[in-house]
């Protein structure tokens, strides 16, 4: 295949992956809505209750929809990986040299993290949020920041591109999974406070307890934070020292990487501080993810600076 053909194949793959993700999201949404009237435990109060059977059928349908969602997410991931690999082949370099490529590979890694964690900790309950977010990011990178495959700008031509950017991608993907878990923690914790025992029906009550969700969120963040520390505060400064002659220069990207780091540090501290545990900590994690996304979108497109490799 020629480089142009590979580039086209990559574009088609990324577009197809977006469509498949949309279908996966619909399946996950169906998983939620089909479970609307399903109670927490299938057997509510023994006896000849007709609605019980109905409820069981619905629960089965809900599970089936969830299974379809998972399979479609696997399919989307496979197609997306093809898209990322062919992109790298067509540009003849690592496929993370600009904003578009960072977006698609970060989503590929985030989906991989999600699929892995479904296998490890059964976290398919974040599926709807993860696929929705992935679909939106993929779709908008294609629409707004697409660039044809090409060579790297000289400033990026360094092995630190692999070390620094891969660490940022891995951390960012884990932050995404952590953020979805934090959102669901907030939803679930609120529901646990406000919903009387006898009204606890629907998908929300098939999910783990808020405590278990909080723990998933914490573990993912605790995994991501050291990697982010490495990406933003070790690998970044070493490369900056080699490329620009200063290891830290308060470039807009650096400032926001630092802000993200501080917010995640605050999240980890908040979980150990009376009065901040739970809700406040989860909100901090979401704000932190917001600063990460602003660094990716806002700083690249609107602020500029030394790191502006957006296009």
């Amino acid at each position: 295949m020629t480089l142009e053909q590979l580039g086209r194949l990559s574009n088609y793959s990324v577009a197809s992956a977006t469509v498949v993700l949309a279908l996966a999201f619909l399946a996950y949404a169906a998983q939620w809505s089909l479970a609307r009237n399903v109670a927490m435990t299938k057997v509510l109060a023994g006896g000849e209750d007709v609605s019980l059977e109905e409820s069981e059928v619905k629960a089965d349908r809900s599970d089936a929809a969830g299974g379809i969602g998972f399979s479609l997410t696997v399919l989307a991931e496979v197609i997306l990986i093809i898209g990322v690999v062919t992109r790298g082949l067509s540009a003849e370099r690592v496929p993370w040299g600009n904003m578009y490529e960072f977006g698609i590979i970060a989503i590929a890694v985030a989906l991989a993290a999600y699929l892995l964690l479904v296998k490890m900790w059964d976290i398919d309950w974040v599926g709807a949020l993860v696929t929705l977010f992935a679909m939106v990011v993929l779709g908008s990178t294609m629409l707004f920041v697409y660039v044809p495959p090409g060579p790297l700008v000289p400033a990026l031509d360094s092995y630190w591109l692999v070390i620094h950017v891969v660490a940022a991608i891995v951390a960012g993907s884990a932050f995404l999974v952590g953020a979805t878990a934090s959102v669901l923690y907030l939803v679930k914790a609120r529901a646990e406070r406000l919903t009387p025992e006898d009204q606890r029906t629907g998908f929300l009550w098939k999910m783990p307890t808020s405590g278990a969700i909080d723990q998933v969120a914490y573990r993912v963040h605790a995994f991501a934070f050291p990697i982010w520390t490495f990406a933003a505060l070790i690998a970044g400064p070493i490369w900056a020292q080699a490329a620009w002659g200063r290891y830290w220069g308060w470039d807009a990207k650096e400032v926001w990487a630092f802000i993200t780091w501080v917010f995640y540090a605050a999240y980890l501290h908040a979980r150990a501080t009376a009065g901040w545990r739970g809700k406040a900590a989860a909100i901090l994690a979401l704000v932190a993810f917001g600063t990460f996304m602003f660094n990716y979108i806002g700083v690249n497109l609107f602020v500029g600076g030394l790191h502006s490799y957006a296009k």
């Binding site: 400033a155 150990a272 602020v303």
Partner: protein, 521 residues
Amino acid sequence: MSDTDTSELSPLEFLRWGWRQLTSMRTALSLLLLLAVVAIPGSLLPQRGVDARAVEAYLNDNPKIGPILDKLGMFSVYTSPWFSGVYLLLMISLVGCILPRSRVYYRALKARPPKAPKNLTRFPASIEFVTTSSPEEAMSAARRALGRARVDVVERDGSHELSAESGYLREAGNLVFHISIVVVLVGVAMTALFGYRGAAIVAEGDRFSNVLTQYDEFGSGALFDRDKLPPFSFNLDNFSATYQVDGPQRGAPLSFEATGTVSDGVDGADKDFSIRVNHPMKVGGASVFLVGQGYAPVIKVTNPNGDVVFDEPVPFLPADPSYTSNGVVKVAEAEPEQLGFQGFFLPTFIQGNDGATRSAFPAPYAPIIGLFVWHGDLGLDKGIPQSVYVLDKSNMTQYMDDKDPKKGYRVSLQPGESQTLPDGHTIEFVSLKQFARFQIASVPGVEIPLIGIVLGLIGLIGSLSIKPRRTWVRARRENDSRTVVQVAVLDRVPRVDLPADLDRFIQRMQEPLQLSEEGDV
């Protein structure tokens, strides 16, 4: 604490109260968040330390709000009193947190695991089972299953009790992480105090000597002696740039390289050098980085008598990826009036349908300069340092077009061409050179923050992954054939999957034991 009436405290008590407030976790957390918030303006507004020219441009464009923001320190956020204030408070709070926790940790290291509480089955993660093995066997099985924990076994009131504590390294990691943040901050301060950094534009064929006057920008730490710049110099012989010539990324830069000769010391021998992006040159304790490039047309101005009054390469600063560049030529020796030119340079000009010229490619395939001309006083004698890239037009008048007096008189030249100006001077675009923008920096002690942050990362990983756990086992012989074993675990960081961990522990522990037919009680 907040309900304490501080007015009745003695000064010492007040200090102690203030210290406790400052070093409390809640305050540390608030300061951390505050630090993130106060860092934001510096990323949205231009900063003097990063790009002084952008600050001047911002002040020009925003005459009303600009000076107010300037007074607030918004253009040098990271050296402003309020930013420094927040981070100094955070430092103090950090130290105030580290010291007592180190003391507590030191004591904990020497202490034995806490005695088993009376009723182990009251713990949320606890279990009771029956074995035919002896209590001693149960104890040794538990000990083996615990692995590397610190374990105490005692016999009390006829029952064997085991207390174990593991995960001491978690707090060690925590302390290492926080201490290394202090190391990083101290290291950063040191490199800033003893280091220097400057930037210089050097055209092909020109020589740079490492003295203050040769720098366009220069900044150094308070403890750096500006007269002690290491003596070195280098000659930029050639600058080469390559660009993608076809495909959708046409015009994208591929490589930049500056080559020439360098001599270290006052009279060192000349050695060849090559500087590329990401590949600086080390000389005289400093590093020379290639951070920018552009074009420097060689301009010659001749007066009506034929004497050359100006002849040198003039750097035009690139404004976009296709190197549409802007520049200023100041001819101070023109008489009777000084001349000033301001305009653009295009490396490969094309004429659009609207008649406007623009640059189509960054390499110089069809270079052109277009200049407007002013005459009068350049203002160079006022004693105020002037930027070479800004023309002070306050005492100058623009030459206007003969046919259309609303339009400025224009000079438009390709290499080798010349044009005679209304006052009889002649301007010639002699040839085209490239310039390189070098950053020259010395950062002594840069290893300190690096070592600090690497240690910090190791500590951080430890503090996030190690589980601090207490385990208690109590075994009591009930009659000759059965031993009742109670096990409880307690995590000092609450976790929901503790029961699962307990199950795994029990499995490991029960392996060598003879379980009673009764099984779990």
